[in-house]
């Protein structure tokens, strides 16, 4: 890019501009500008503040500022029991609420030393993969909307509405549903819900192909994302990236394969990686991961056994509502668990799952009481955002939007 020099600007204009300052002409043309891409912005995926230092339109440096949605989750967790925190985990990564519920339930079950029955684990796997599809659909739609393709956003939201209908039938809430319980899930999957899941996965692949037809061969989309925001595999691991952003740089790391939980070691699916490391690779990883999720759901539906969905352990798991109203022991156990908590043994654990955004980890410290002594939420979006200053150096302002869109942060999670 050519720099503007003194000869390009009329001297009278320069005099008028600099009349009330002490800057000289050379300073005025050489100065860099600080631009505030503020917390309220259509393309920053929530309340993220980016301070950019610009030379013309090229970004020289960037400082992200977080904390505009800091709601005090970790302090809240120290003051409420493990059951009461389940609705709060919904609102962490609010695009895939079921996945967070499953992560919390797994963490507390590990701390307490119990395990959910097999049917509940298969149901949890199905809803986690549905949550992954829903989250990636919004990611693709929002990235396309930021680049300028508005139609794709409406189409992906239409697909997402079908998933929200499934969750509506399953547990009563379309969004922020606190469906899992410690020791299983809240209620069994109804036949209508399972039929709707089967209908959804049968018609999903054609609709995804339609959306991709609009984007993958579109010259504007490809040229705006190709080669933008390249990060090498070593830098990505050093900066702590996880999830699709890391797999877009060619690193084959997926927690469902590396440290399997639920029944993922029995499922047959590929871990998608692309070697390029730019925004286009991250977009392709997300689109292909939804295809693998469809495969996992199909296998889970075939393998799911009949059985109960809540573990029968009265000291740690809330009993069923119908029995509380009619039997004595269940009433007493319900009273103890709700008022005093489940009292896991003294110890600390760290449980990580593969969320759609990356690795979501819960570090829980228990001192034997009903509420955790400390709960740390390792949120993937916060760590992914740390790589933004590294990625935008030397690019232009419109690339900043594409890069933040391809990393796909969610501020509810990044700010806790």
């Amino acid at each position: 890019m050519q720099k503007i020099t003194k000869e390009d600007v009329n001297p009278k204009i320069l005099d008028a501009l600099l009349a009330d300052t002490e800057l000289s002409v050379e300073d005025a043309l050489e100065n860099e500008m600080i631009l505030n891409m503020g917390p309220q912005h259509p393309a920053t995926h929530g309340v993220l503040r980016l301070l950019l230092r610009l030379d013309g339109e090229t970004v020289m440096g960037c400082v992200p500022e977080l904390g505009y949605l800091h709601r005090g989750y970790e302090k809240l967790a120290e003051n409420m029991s493990y059951y009461e925190f389940i609705p709060h985990t919904d609102r962490l990564d609010y695009l895939s609420p079921m996945a967070n519920n499953v992560a919390w339930a797994l963490a507390v079950e590990k701390l307490a030393g119990i395990e959910a029955p097999p049917r509940a684990q298969y149901i949890r796997m199905i809803i986690t993969e549905l949550a992954r599809i829903a989250s990636h659909l919004v990611a693709i739609g929002a990235l396309a909307m930021d680049i300028g393709a508005l139609t794709v956003f409406l189409w992906t939201l239409r697909e997402r509405e079908k998933i929200l209908d499934v969750w509506d039938i399953l547990c009563g809430a379309r969004f922020t549903n606190s469906y899992t319980r410690i020791g299983g899930v809240a209620n069994d999957a109804q036949p209508e819900a399972i039929a709707k899941v089967k209908w959804f996965i049968d018609q999903y692949l054609e609709n995804l192909d339609e959306c991709e037809k609009l984007l993958n061969t579109n010259r504007i989309f490809v040229e705006r994302l190709d080669g933008v925001g390249i990060i090498t595999a070593d830098d990505a691991i050093d900066l702590g990236l996880t999830g699709p952003s890391l797999r877009g740089s060619g690193v084959d790391f997926d927690l469902r394969r590396a440290q399997p939980y639920l029944f993922y070691n029995e499922m047959d699916f590929k871990v998608i990686t692309f070697p390029d490391g730019d925004s286009l690779a991250r977009y392709f990883v997300r689109a292909d991961e939804t295809r693998e999720s469809i495969k996992i759901i199909r296998q889970s539906l075939d393998k799911m056994p009949q059985g109960e969905t809540l573990l029968n352990q009265p000291k740690k798991v809330l009993p069923k509502k119908a029995e509380i109203y009619s039997k004595m022991e269940e009433l007493i156990h319900d009273f103890m668990i709700v008022n005093f908590g489940i009292n896991p043994p003294v110890g600390e654990i760290y449980q990580a799952v593969e969320n759609p955004k990356g690795e979501l980890g819960f570090y829980l410290v228990s001192t034997g009481e009903g509420h955790p002594w400390k709960c740390k939420i390792r949120s993937p979006s916060m760590v992914n955002l740390q790589s933004v200053p590294h990625l935008v150096k030397g690019r232009m302002i419109s690339d900043v939007v594409a890069i933040v869109g391809s990393l796909d942060p969610v501020m509810g999670e990044a700010d806790k």
């Binding site: 503020g38 917390p39 309220q40 912005h41 259509p42 929530g46 309340v47 904390g67 505009y68 949605l69 800091h70 709601r71 005090g72 302090k75 809240l76 609705p87 709060h88 609102r91 609010y94 695009l95 919004v138 409406l154 939201l157 239409r158 997402r160 509405e161 929200l164 379309r174 969004f175 922020t176 501020m411 509810g412």
Partner: protein, 173 residues
Amino acid sequence: MGLEAKLNHEGFLTTTVDALVEWSRKNSVWPMPMGISCCAIEMMASGDPKYDIARFGSEVMRFTPRQCDLMIVAGTVTYKMSHVVKKIYDQMPDPKWVIAMGACTSSGGMYRTYSVVQGIDQFLPVDIYLAGCPPRPDNLLNALIQIQDKIGRTRAREFQDQPLPELTVIQNN
């Protein structure tokens, strides 16, 4: 705002002109989506093909406050963010209305902590409080219809040229 003041200068305004202004104003409410957290996703969902908000006249969700008349505050407002929300509210031209969407904006919601404002009516005048966590898109459309009724009841002659309020500098960075 200036037009009604000029028309109203003599002291009367015909009811047909009044009705025309009200009808056009209420059927083209352009919302300013102050989307902060989870309620913003339900606000986006009210714009998708299933719960179309465009059929009520809110076709454009402009992210610039200078062209909007309804601010939908969707999401938890923290103390750090409250200055930004107030700044955007001040930048909107009169007449303007505010919907407090969800439990977090109405009263702090399920977050009774050190950093969450317990209800945005502590610093903003609110017209409609929506219950829900998050409220369904149908609920938001219901609130929009009620705001349209409220706009329909205000008379155009009430808007005179008012002196500009004193704006204080809230944030220096």
